[in-house]
């Protein structure tokens, strides 16, 4: 027998989040008891918590495949295929984030137990973001995602670049959050509710609300556009990605971006269907600009972290194109499927690429130039091969997940509004910029194989594991994308 209150709270639906949140608090206390020279125990314990959440998620996959969706806390959060799929991505990214830091932190003399606790906290923020059904929840989840990341980017505090990254990220992030709050306030002022479904009803039932909610939606877009690093809110990305410790960069380039997109899709598709063509147009324009700027500026970069930062801006553009394609409700499930598939492919590829960057990086934080990759083809043939695969996947070459992701995105955009000149133009920009991107991605492969160099790299077991797993995943998504895409298709909003 269950009490009615427990049923409407529905703790089981948010079990993975509860596991990580509780474990993070326990870990905080454990960490005090662990001697300074044994801090890697904290890392292993953090992994245990994340694996626990992964097991809970595994059971939820089966459960939700039958049920569709469930609301918890009386509709404050919605757990559906979309949030489960993204939560899997977040937990995997967090596991990789821990594994990447395992050797990096002691090697660079910045090992502290708080790293893993903060990592768990920001992961919770991302997970709640993907299931938020209320604007207030979106806001607090976004802050929970961001604040630990500000700290983590400054984790190598004795390096000036890391400090600068943290400060820049924090200042611009706080600025962007204020736009988000203003947007929530205007939307609430117009509709009298912060529930996403309630907003949708209020907008359709009272046309007076339209201007106010449209501007509110625009401000929300600014706040979330910052998180996903879309042009013109991308200014922070290169400096923060370059300055932050590399495992943090790897983690946030995937996690924060996916979290931002999760909220973006939920808010736009659920709350603002009445002004779908307006936000569709707006996002399509932003997508085009983002692809152009990211890909063109990336060409002139000589630092691998900076190059991957511009590459991450460019990929935000491709994902935004699929978001714009979700404007028509008949096409929404295909478009959202394309978004989450692309996010998964990008996560695997990008984490892999950063793993290689970590292996090449020297203990003092140098060794992040693309020239430092010279000679790797001879000294580390397997690692070079994996890096080549990641670069090809980021370009969108065959047998890689990146190509399949791009094909789905372009297909979604083309069938969204048949004959729409704007979307067609942005798709053409997308194809052309993909060709341009080959220039700087292939340069890395060329340097690895064709140029003579020391080719020094430190590749401990944890990095090897991550490298093998991400390379395998990228290949699987590229060769047999069917099953995963079908899952992504079912990952629609309910």
């Amino acid at each position: 027998m269950q009490l009615p209150i427990l049923e409407s709270i529905n703790l089981m639906a948010v079990l993975p989040v509860l596991i990580i949140a509780g474990w993070a608090c326990v870990l905080l206390v454990f960490d005090l008891l662990i001697p300074r020279s044994r801090k890697h125990w904290t890392a292993w314990l953090a992994l245990v918590g994340l694996l626990g959440a992964a097991v809970a998620l595994f059971f939820q996959i089966g459960h939700f495949a039958r049920l569709g969706s469930e609301a918890a806390f009386d509709g404050m959060v919605t757990v559906d295929g979309f949030s489960i799929f993204l939560q899997v991505v977040f937990v995997l990214t967090a596991i990789v984030g821990v594994l990447l830091a395992l050797d990096y932190l002691p090697r660079h003399g910045i090992e502290r137990g708080e790293y893993y606790v903060l990592l768990l906290f920001t992961t919770i923020g991302m997970m709640i973001m993907s299931m938020a059904a209320d604007l207030i929840v979106v806001f607090v989840a976004l802050e929970l995602l961001s604040i630990p990341l500000y700290i983590l980017s400054g984790f190598a505090g004795m390096r000036e670049t890391s400090e600068e990254a943290a400060l820049k990220y924090f200042l611009l992030g706080a600025f962007a959050s204020s736009f988000l709050v203003y947007g929530i306030a205007l939307t609430y002022g117009g509709t009298g509710t912060t529930r996403l479904t309630g907003i949708a009803q209020a907008v359709t039932s009272d046309a007076l609300n339209l201007p106010l909610t449209t501007v509110g939606m625009g401000l929300l877009l600014v706040g979330l556009g910052f998180k996903v690093a879309a042009v013109p809110f991308h200014m922070w990305t290169p400096d923060v990605y370059q300055g932050a410790p590399t495992p943090v960069t790897a983690f946030m380039s995937v996690g924060a971006k996916a979290g931002g997109f999760a909220a973006l899709i939920r808010v736009l598709v659920t709350a603002f269907p009445a002004i779908a063509s307006e936000w569709g147009t707006l996002i399509a324009v932003i997508a085009g600009l983002t692809m152009l700027l990211g890909n063109i500026v990336a060409i002139s970069q000589s630092n691998i972290k900076r190059m991957l930062a511009y590459s991450s801006i460019a990929h935000a553009g491709y994902i935004l194109l699929a978001v714009a394609a979700a404007q028509r409700s008949e096409n929404a499930s295909f478009a959202i499927g394309a978004v989450v598939f692309y996010l998964l492919a990008y996560a695997l590829t990008n984490l892999g690429a950063f793993t290689v960057a970590i292996a090449v990086e020297r203990d003092d934080g140098t060794g992040t130039e693309i020239d430092d990759f010279a000679g790797l083809g001879k000294t580390r043939p397997w690692m070079a091969l994996a890096m080549a695969l990641f670069m090809l996947s980021l370009t969108g070459m065959p047998i890689s997940g990146g190509l399949v992701g791009k094909v789905f995105v372009f297909q979604a955009a083309l069938q969204a509004v048949p004959g729409d000149p704007l979307l067609l133009a942005v798709v053409i920009i997308g194809v052309l910029t993909s060709v341009v991107s080959a220039f700087y991605y292939l340069k890395v492969i060329m340097v690895m194989y064709m140029r003579e160099g020391e080719g020094k790299a430190v590749l401990p077991l944890a990095l090897k594991t991550v490298l093998a797993a991400t390379a395998f995943g990228t290949l699987v998504l590229g060769i047999i994308p069917g099953p995963v895409f079908q899952m992504a298709q079912r990952a629609m909003l309910k």
């Binding site: 608090c25 905080l28 009386d74 502290r112 906290f121 929970l144 984790f155 505090g157 205007l186």
Partner: protein
């Protein structure tokens, strides 16, 4: 429009808020700007009082005027190098002013468009503070944001310690 004591009080508070905000962005002395900020925050507290939200007014005074303004002033005072900075380092201010003006006009327009000529909504009956408190711990109200905010504060506290210990 009839002029009542409330309207007069509103205009005084609005003048505090707007004047203070203008002072913050136009003043070249950082310390003076911080003092103007206190004035603006105080004006907002006054507006909350006029809106019959005494709890929010108290929070505004305690948290913003009390804690945050003091924090800003102390930060400026202990950072001697920025105490003396009086020339503007922002060369892009005309662009920023233009963007801000467009934003202000748009926001003003949509808010007026929606609310001009509307009669004020009657105050919510009952004890507001009790209702607010209940909403924060009620599972069908704002329990989730409340709990997430508590985790957020814990994370921020750990973060502050990590940054400070360096």
């Amino acid at each position: 429009m009839t002029i009542t004591p409330i309207t007069i009080a509103f205009f005084i508070m609005a003048a505090f808020t707007l004047g203070g905000s203008l002072g913050v962005v136009t003043n070249r002395n950082l310390f003076h700007a911080a003092l103007y900020l206190v004035l603006a925050l105080f004006g907002v507290a006054g507006l909350f009082v006029l809106l019959e939200a005494p709890f929010l007014a108290a929070v505004q005074v305690l948290v913003y005027v009390g804690a945050i303004a003091v924090l800003i002033t102390i930060t400026i005072m202990v950072t001697r190098r920025i105490m003396g900075v009086t020339e503007s380092v922002n060369r892009q201010w005309p662009l920023a002013a233009g963007v801000s003006a467009i934003m202000a006009i748009t926001l003003g327009f949509v808010v007026l468009d929606r609310f001009a000529g509307k009669l004020p909504v009657a105050a919510v009956p009952g004890d507001n503070i009790v209702r607010l408190g209940e909403a924060l711990v009620n599972y069908d109200a704002y329990l989730v944001p409340f709990e997430v905010a508590s985790v957020l504060l814990l994370a921020a506290m750990i973060g502050a310690i990590v940054v400070a210990r360096e």
